[in-house]
Symmetry: C2
Amino acid sequence: MAGRRDRRGDRREEILLAALEVFAERGYTGASIASIAERVGLTQQGVLHYFPSKDRLLAEVLMLRDQRNLDVIMLPGNEGAVTLDTVAALVEYNAQRRGIVQSFTVLSAESVIEDHPAKDFFQERYGSARAWMAEVVRAEIGDELPGGVTPEQAAPLIFAVMDGLQLQWLLAPDEIDMPALFRAFVSLLKAGVAAS
Amino acid sequence: MAGRRDRRGDRREEILLAALEVFAERGYTGASIASIAERVGLTQQGVLHYFPSKDRLLAEVLMLRDQRNLDVIMLPGNEGAVTLDTVAALVEYNAQRRGIVQSFTVLSAESVIEDHPAKDFFQERYGSARAWMAEVVRAEIGDELPGGVTPEQAAPLIFAVMDGLQLQWLLAPDEIDMPALFRAFVSLLKAGVAAS
DNA sequence: GTCTATAAAAAGATAGAC
DNA sequence: GTCTATCTTTTTATAGAC
């Protein structure tokens, strides 16, 4: 049963995957429905049969991508017990999925422009992700991090490092060892623990 | 003499500033030459008289913005003696220049797509910036940072934090205290220094 | 230096045939 | 479910008048 759907669902998912690719390659603004359609052997109107507008297509692509990430975070049997090692594992996974990373980097940055259809999505996503990450940090390291940093400060920093490293890695994959650099950052967060 | 140029130079700079605004608001792909022209009271063709193509216009905008940043870094009389406090001051400055930050965030992320006209610019910019920043860290903190982190690792992390915080700040200015969070990160880098 | 005119291409979306 | 046809707008860029 798992992974199997009726033809209608397959077609939709096929289009969503193609859209993710094209958005990654050209951004949302630069992507055309026709170019997405071409990848799945349809015309522009064929795609518009499944998704009424480009905006709606983007919305569903973002939900798909988010679900994938949650799958990875929860996959290693860490039911409810996410640690910074789990997050590091996600970074490691991302380093092997350039397309996914690129789509996220391009779309999230693009979303800051006025009236962008993905703005609400990313605002909510980062807001809840920070709250969640602060608790992960607190549970693992405690209320006091090196240099007087709090878990509430560490949370946005963790996502900043992830996003910022992704950008540099996309521009220079051979120079940037994304997983190693993220682990280096984690060791900064934990440096005081061993000493105290 | 300073700040004064002939009419031709003024016109060009006027266009460049308008272009920076529009690129920030819509990204490069989403910006039209006509919308830039409108802001300076010209037609599309009037702008194309000064810049032969949209690509060239972008190239000059990026150089302008980079120069501004260098001005700020060098401004406080720190001739040759840049420290992490100087970098923190730049972050503080950026927190009052939303348009500049937004243009940089949108354009740098957009530049990772294939054949983007700003790709070379950002590749070179990050490459040299990392090398420079590694020396700043080494001069200020030394070869060993907390958690066994090296200056060569700290450098990309510093830019990752700057860029990543900018994205979160653009999406939620009221939730993200960019300067405070950057200083928190700097205190992570320096945490081992005071203790040793 | 700035304009009008114009080309030539591509975009999102709708209507309707099959 | 997918197509052709079509509309309407917008895009970059060129040619040439003034």
